[in-house]
Symmetry: C2
Subunit: 429 residues, 2 copies
C-alpha cells in the first residue's frame, strides 16, 4: 500500500475528501429508471424478462415454498446451523436494547401530548446472490425488523441456476422472515416499491446490493423508505507501536477480499509499523483463496497515512467516516469520545472486524462513503416510526387562544386563527 | 366538496391510492440537476446568478449580521415575540422527551458492546420566503436540532426585495440558529450539500419548500441526509354525529388556505354532517382573506367519504396516511390504537389542527403524500446518529473463534476467518 507522509493535515484532509465525494453514474441511472418504469407498468412480466436476461434463469415460481426452506435447512451442516443460531441470539440481545418507546405528558391541566411508536407494516430486505450471498446479511436485516414488530418481512434474492444458497434460506428461517421471493437486481427493488401481482409492495427496503440495486433504491426513495445507499466496503485502522502488524494486515485483507473496490486505510504514528504491515500484507496474500480480489483492492484503494500525533489520526479519520473503524491503540476505550464519524468501532487488539460481520451482535449493515457523518448502522430504529398526538379541553384551549391566534395572524393565515376561535362560537351550523 | 358514497371499501381504497401515488416531474428534475451542477462548479457565482433570476434581488452580503437580527427583533410587536417564546418553550418541553440515549452491555465476561449516540455536526434548515415565510417553521426545525446538541445550525431563506421577514429572524434568534444566509430555492440546497466559499456544507438538510426545493433535496440525498420530501399539506378528519360542522369546516379551510394543492378530506358516518359541513365551508369562505386559494383547494382536492362504520374510516384513513389527522369522534383517545399511518393526530373537538402548527409542542414538519407509512414527524431523532462499538479480551475471543471461523468459511471468506485466527498465532511480524 502507498505510504503517505510529511503532509499537513490540510493536504491529507483534501485528498481524503476527494476520495469520498459521492458520484452518480448517468448510464446506470438511465437503465435503472427504464427498468423501474417497466416493472411498474408490466409487473411480473417485466420481472420474468429481466430474470432471464440478468440471472440467466427464470424460476418456475417466484415464491420459495416452506418445503424448499425445510429441505435447505436439512442440507446445511449442523455446525453451521448452530453457529447461525448463536449469532442470531447475539444479534437479538444487542438489538433488543435499541427499541424506542413513546411518551405522553400533561404540560398543563387539560392538555395531553404524546408520541406513539409503531412498527412499519411491511419491509423488504434485499439479499445479494452469487458469490456475495451472505447468510449473515439475512440475520442483520431481518432480526431488527422482527424485534421492531414488523408483521410482514419480505426477502428478495436473485435466482440461481443451481438453486438458492441453502444457508441463506436457513438464515431467513432462523431470523423469522415471512416470505421469500427469487427476484433480484433493480427489478426486485422496483417490485417491492410498487408491488406486482406476485410481489407485495412494502413500506421500506433495506440491505446492500450492487450499483444497480443501489441506484434503484435511490430512485424509489420517496415512494418507500430505504435504509441507505451502500457503497464499497471500507475499513480504517488507527494503530500505534503497540499493535501487531500481522493482525492489522489480516484485518485489512478481510475487507479487501470482499470486492476489488473495497477501501482499506491505515493511519499510524509508527513508520516501522507501516513498513511491517505492508510486508505482512504481501506475505498473507500469497496463500489467500481470494488473493486476486484482495490484491486489487489493496493496490488500488489501500493507503497508509503516517501522521505525527494520535489527535491527528482522529481528525483525519472523522473526515473519512469509515464503515468499520479499528482502534488498535493503547487503552483504546479512552478514545471513544473522539470518534464522531464511523459506522462500527472495534476497540483494541482482539476486536477483529469479522467478529462484527458475523457474530457478536452489532449490525454489519453500516454507512459507507463517508455517510456515517449523518447515518447510523441498520437498527431497530429503521423499522419503527412515530406518530404524534394532542388532546385539549375547551378550558385549556381558552388559555392558549390569544397566543395561537396572534401567531396565526402574524403569518397571515386568518383561517388558522378562526379555526381555533370557532370552538368558542355559539353557532353550531 | 364532492361527497362519495355507496362505494365498497375496495373502490374507495383504489381511488385513494391513486391520489397518493408519488410522481416526479422530468422538466423540474432536469432544471434542478443543472442548477446543482452549476453550484458545485461555480459556487457563490452561481448563487448570485440564480438569486438575481429567481428572487429578483441580489443581497449585498449573504450572511445576515447579528445587528440585522437585533434590529429585526426590535421591530416585532412584543405580543408576537411573547407568543413565539411561549411556543418555543412548549416545543422544547415536548421534544426534550425525544432524546435518544445509547447503551452498553457485557453479554459475557470479556465482551463489551454498545451504541453511542451523538448529534450531527452541522445541519441546514430551509425556510421558505415570500407569503409562505413561517416563523413557526423556524422554531420547528431548529429547536429539535438544538436539543439534539447540533453545534452548527445553518438557516437559509430566500432574499426579499424589502428585506427578510423580521419575525422569521426573531424566531431564528429565539430557537438558537447559529448562522443565517439569504439564499433560497434549489441553489440553496445545492450550496448546503456541497458548500461554497460562503455557505458551509452541512450533514443534513431539513425543512419544507416548493417543488424545486423538494427535487433538489431528493437529488442531494446521499451526499447529505434529508428529513423528507415534502408534498402539499393535507388534513384528514374523521367525524361522527357528535362533531360540530362549523368547527370541521374551519379546520378544513385552515389547511386549504395554505396552497391551492392542499388536500382536505373528511370521512364520516353521517350524511347530515357531510351536507352541513359543505354548507359551512361555503359560508366561511365568504369572509376569508385567502378565499381564492382555499376555494381552489377545496374544489380540486376536497373530498368527503361517506362510510358505513367507524372501522371503515380507520381502514381507509390508514391507506391515506394523512399529514394531519383529526379524530372528532366520541371518546377519541380510544381510537389511538387503530391509527397506523398519520403524521400528527388531533383528538376530540378542541384539538384544532392550528394548535399543532404553532404552539402546543408537537412538530408541524410532518410526512405528506402517504409517506407516514414509513416516516415520522421531524424530531430530535433527525439530528442524532448512532455509532456501534465492540471490545473483546483474548479469552473471550477464544471462546467465539470456532463459530466465527465456521460462518466466515461458510460464506467463502477465508481472510475473515484468518483475521480472527491471527490473534492466536505466535508470529508477530
Amino acid at each position: 500500500m502507498q505510504i503517505i507522509k510529511n503532509q499537513t493535515i490540510d493536504q491529507m484532509a483534501k485528498q481524503i475528501r476527494q476520495e469520498t465525494a459521492a458520484t452518480d453514474d448517468a448510464i446506470v441511472a438511465a437503465q435503472v429508471a427504464d427498468m423501474i418504469k417497466n416493472v411498474r407498468e408490466n409487473g411480473d412480466e417485466a420481472l420474468k424478462t429481466y430474470s432471464a436476461t440478468f440471472d440467466g434463469v427464470t424460476p418456475a415460481t417466484w415464491r420459495v415454498s416452506e418445503a424448499e426452506i425445510q429441505a435447505a435447512m436439512a442440507s446445511v451442516p449442523q455446525k453451521v446451523l448452530a453457529a447461525l443460531r448463536t449469532a442470531a441470539e447475539n444479534i437479538r440481545t444487542f438489538h433488543q436494547q435499541e427499541v424506542a418507546v413513546g411518551f405522553e405528558d400533561t404540560p398543563r391541566e387539560g392538555i395531553v401530548r404524546g408520541v406513539k411508536v409503531t412498527p412499519l407494516s411491511a419491509v423488504g430486505i434485499y439479499v445479494p446472490g452469487g458469490t456475495a450471498a451472505y447468510p449473515s446479511s439475512v440475520l442483520m436485516n431481518a432480526i431488527p425488523a422482527k424485534i421492531a414488530g414488523v408483521p410482514n418481512i419480505v426477502m428478495v434474492t436473485p435466482p440461481q441456476k443451481d438453486g438458492l444458497n441453502p444457508t441463506v434460506l436457513a438464515a431467513a428461517k432462523i431470523a423469522g422472515v415471512d416470505q421469500i421471493f427469487q427476484v433480484g437486481g433493480a427489478q426486485a427493488i422496483a417490485a417491492l416499491a410498487y408491488g406486482t401481482a406476485t410481489i407485495p409492495a412494502v413500506d421500506k427496503i433495506t440491505g446492500p446490493g450492487n450499483r444497480y440495486v443501489a441506484m434503484a433504491k435511490k430512485m424509489v426513495y420517496g415512494q418507500v423508505a430505504i435504509d441507505m445507499i451502500a457503497g464499497p466496503s471500507e475499513i480504517g485502522i488507527l494503530a500505534d507501536d503497540s499493535a501487531r502488524p500481522a493482525d492489522i494486515a489480516a484485518d485489512l485483507l478481510s475487507q479487501a477480499e470482499h470486492d476489488v473496490n473495497a477501501r482499506v486505510l491505515l493511519m499510524t504514528t509508527s513508520a516501522a509499523l507501516a513498513t511491517a504491515v505492508n510486508a505482512a500484507v504481501a506475505q498473507q496474500l500469497e496463500t489467500l483463496p481470494r488473493a486476486d480480489i484482495a490484491r486489487a483492492a489493496i493496490n488500488d484503494h489501500g493507503v497508509i497515512y503516517l501522521v505525527n500525533t494520535i489527535d491527528e489520526m482522529f481528525t483525519l479519520m472523522n473526515l473519512v467516516g469509515p464503515e468499520h473503524l479499528e482502534v488498535q491503540l493503547t487503552n483504546p476505550a479512552q478514545y471513544l469520545a473522539k470518534i464522531q464519524n464511523a459506522g462500527s468501532i472495534f476497540l483494541g487488539p482482539y476486536a477483529s472486524e469479522p467478529l462484527g460481520d458475523y457474530f457478536s451482535g452489532p449490525n454489519h449493515i453500516l454507512p459507507t462513503g463517508g455517510t456515517a457523518r449523518f447515518s447510523s448502522p441498520l437498527g431497530v430504529w429503521d423499522f419503527q416510526k412515530r406518530l404524534q398526538y394532542l388532546q385539549y379541553t375547551q378550558s385549556a384551549l381558552a388559555e392558549d387562544l390569544p397566543a395561537v391566534t396572534q401567531l396565526a395572524r402574524a403569518e397571515g393565515l386568518e383561517a388558522h386563527a378562526r379555526a381555533v376561535q370557532s370552538r368558542f362560537n355559539s353557532s353550531v351550523g
